[in-house]
């Protein structure tokens, strides 16, 4: 087993939990989104049918991915779009840089894309002299704060408005002490407008790539993707191979659930379809694998590629809400972050940052079986001898004890007696995290089995 370089989820979560009022505030902000989602879903009598359809569409596309990718590429080319293929993050960043440097781009405006975060593209381009401006308000906030996103849909959800006010005062000259969201948003808008007008190229993520149209669909609430894509001459769209859908009918099903499940909106404010370069301009699509086809090899892990990145699983996850997005050691946090990022986590702890409660799987608009995927990651880690929290040492002992009736009965009899006769203050230090946060159970007089023997078998 390699030496762990990264802190475990539990370690980071413990630090986050030390400010309980902040945990409560964070949890409440996200639960509000879950409640909005519930109300929006309830308004559609066909909600569960849409989930089933969404799941089937994605499964069908993933099962015939090669064919759909080829169709998509052919249709893009016919529409005048330039298509690039990247097997990993490095290739993606190189391709993006090649396009930008060919056009002598100094400033790139980017609309939210978790894929470019996954590829760590911003620092790559910045090191090569290209200024990258994130244009989604939340993304811009964390970019100015030099932080990664803590949520895939509301990336700055961990920051309070006062903290944003302070940051804006320092970075974009707003009034000191100002924290009024309307004032701050207007200031950000003016600041971003300057960036759009002075940019040489634009990049966006892709919510869906429609195979039979050779088109990409980009959803935003702020119109920033459109501001970017429509102003400078060069537009680039980066997408994972999992973003494919066959046609507009399938896209329509997913568009109906995406925003409802994310924020409770009927649809994102802007759902734009790009299917050709603007007159005199260039449109590029970069199609990225970066480990996705490996995931397709495992029947259970493959289903994580059905994800449409609505963030619904983060909002409902009781662990994410209380531990924050930065505890997951991956760009994408929460249940879906575990599903797609567990193999990259060298602390090997994130698959265990979950109680397997299953809420995420039921909230998911494409029925990604997140709890099953997370359990699968645990098993894969165990098989690779990469267990956290000492499990590698104590689990074989637990297994042996549980399989041995005499040993189990003896040890539990001692435990019951200790709990009955010894002061719990004495026992608590030996009860680890249990005793730190909870009272110990009272020791029962005897086991049920012994009671049954006395009261039924001997009568």
């Amino acid at each position: 087993m390699t030496q762990t370089q990264t802190k475990t989820h539990a370690y980071k979560a413990d630090i986050f939990c030390q400010d309980e009022s902040r945990v409560d505030w964070h949890s409440k902000a996200l639960w509000t989104l879950r409640e909005k989602r519930d109300r929006a879903a309830k308004q559609l009598p066909e909600w569960e049918q849409l989930r089933t359809l969404g799941s089937q569409i994605k499964l069908h596309t993933l099962s015939n991915l090669g064919q759909y990718l080829e169709t998509f590429e052919a249709n893009c080319l016919a529409n005048g779009i330039q298509v690039h293929w990247a097997k990993d993050a490095t290739e993606h960043n190189q391709i993006a840089y090649d396009i930008l440097s060919r056009h002598k781009v100094k400033k790139l405006v980017k609309s939210k894309s978790m894929l470019t975060e996954e590829c760590h593209m911003n620092p790559y381009l910045e090191q090569r002299g290209i200024e990258v401006i994130d244009t989604d308000l939340g993304e811009r906030i964390i970019q100015l704060a030099k932080q990664p996103p803590s949520h895939i849909v509301v990336p700055a959800i961990h920051m309070k408005k006062e903290e944003v006010g302070e940051l804006f005062h320092e970075k974009i000259n707003t009034q000191a002490g100002a924290s009024d969201p309307t004032y701050l948003t207007r200031a950000a808008r003016a600041h971003l407008r300057e960036q759009f007008l002075s940019a040489d190229a634009a990049m966006t993520g892709v919510n869906m790539a429609v195979a039979d149209q050779g088109a990409v669909i980009v959803c935003t609430n702020e119109g920033n993707a459109d501001m970017g894509a429509n102003l400078p001459g060069v537009q680039i769209h980066s997408m994972g191979i999992d973003k494919l859908v066959p046609d507009m009918d399938s896209a329509a099903v997913i568009l109906r659930t995406l925003a409802r499940n994310a924020t409770g909106q009927p649809i994102t404010t802007y759902s734009s379809i790009y299917k050709a370069p603007k007159s005199g301009g260039e449109m590029h699509v970069i199609i990225v694998d970066n480990g996705r086809s490996d995931m397709l090899q495992d029947n259970i892990l493959a289903e994580s590629l059905k994800c449409i990145r609505c963030g619904g699983c983060l909002n409902t996850c009781p662990v994410y809400r209380r531990s924050g997005g930065f505890s997951y050691n991956y760009t994408i946090p929460g249940p879906i972050g575990i599903a797609v990022g567990a193999s990259d986590d060298d602390s090997n702890s994130i698959p265990w940052a979950c109680t397997l409660c299953g809420s995420c799987s039921y909230v998911c608009p494409t029925k990604v079986p997140l709890d099953k995927i997370i359990a699968r990651h645990r098993r894969l880690k165990a098989e690779q001898g990469q267990l956290p929290y000492g499990k590698r040492h104590y689990m074989p002992l637990v297994g042996k004890l549980m399989a041995n009736e005499t040993a189990l009965n003896c040890s539990m009899s001692i435990a019951r007696t200790s709990l009955k006769i010894l002061p719990h203050s004495l026992l608590k230090p030996f009860a680890g995290a249990w005793g730190k946060y909870r009272e110990l159970p009272a020791g029962a007089d005897s086991s049920f089995e012994a009671w049954f023997k006395r009261n039924r078998e001997q009568k």
Binding site: V319, R322, S323, T355, S359, Y362, E383, A403, K436, E439
Partner: protein
């Protein structure tokens, strides 16, 4: 009916009162109840940790204790253990004999709702109870519609208890949010588990109920420890204890 009890290790060793209530209520309903020997644990602590090799011997020991036992149903007063047993039996032994055992497995509430409903209760319980809708029971065993689902609502737990005169059933805020136990999660992720338990205990206490009633002893053990740590004026009871009191 002839019923074999599946008593999980936690109930056997730490919460025998749950086993006793289950046995007594099934007898009061006219069933013949036996306790097959050799049960220890369903293997869930190991399989939930990903350690399938370490779970094999324990799981097969439990399965073997039911193989060839003559009975109409195997009933367990713990949803999470029941789900794990079903899955683990299947994982480690796919024989017809194992399938025969798996087909007879029922969680207590499920059994009382789907298989042998209670015709009538004899005693009123004048009390307000806050139901603990534990994750595995509702999401993996379909004891009730999870709050995330927009399917036609049903709730077997409430349906079983609703026949008891005087019983006032309420729910905590975020009614089916996980209590944070999660087996070894409670130890490995102490801070988060502790905070989830605390929030859950307060949500139950805020209903003003006298008892937190649930169908999963492990969640109840966790919530009980938290309720007492928080010194909240509420106590935990297993659904078997409530039903047994009303019969």
């Amino acid at each position: 009916m002839k019923i074999a009890l599946f008593i999980p290790c936690l109930v056997n060793q730490m919460m025998p009162e749950v086993g006793i209530a289950t046995l007594e209520l099934l007898e009061k309903l006219g069933h013949q109840v036996i306790l097959p020997k050799g049960q220890t644990c369903c293997g869930q602590p190991m399989t939930n940790s990903g350690c399938f090799n370490e779970a094999r011997a324990t799981t097969l020991k439990l399965l073997n204790s039911f193989k060839g036992v003559e009975c109409d149903a195997i009933v367990c007063p713990a949803a999470s253990c029941l789900v794990a047993a079903k899955e683990n039996f299947h994982e480690f032994d796919d024989s017809d004999e194992a399938q025969a055992v798996i087909r007879k497995l029922y969680e207590l509430t499920e059994f009382l709702h789907d298989v042998a409903p209670i015709a009538s209760f004899n005693k009123a319980i004048n009390s307000k109870v806050s139901l603990q809708m534990s994750c595995h029971g509702i999401r993996m065993l379909s004891l009730a519609t999870p709050s995330e689902s927009m399917d036609t609502p049903f709730n077997k737990v409430e349906a079983v208890l609703s026949g008891i005169e005087g019983l006032n059933i309420v729910y905590p805020q975020k009614r089916d949010e996980c209590c944070g136990f999660g087996g070894t999660f409670a130890l490995d992720e102490g801070a988060i588990s502790g905070k989830m338990g605390k929030d859950k205990a307060h949500a139950h206490a805020d209903t003003g109920a006298e008892f937190i009633v649930g169908f999963d002893p492990s969640c109840l053990l966790h919530i009980d420890g938290t309720v007492r740590r928080q010194q909240l004026p509420i106590a935990t009871r297993h659904i078997a204890q409530i039903i047994n009191m009303a019969l």
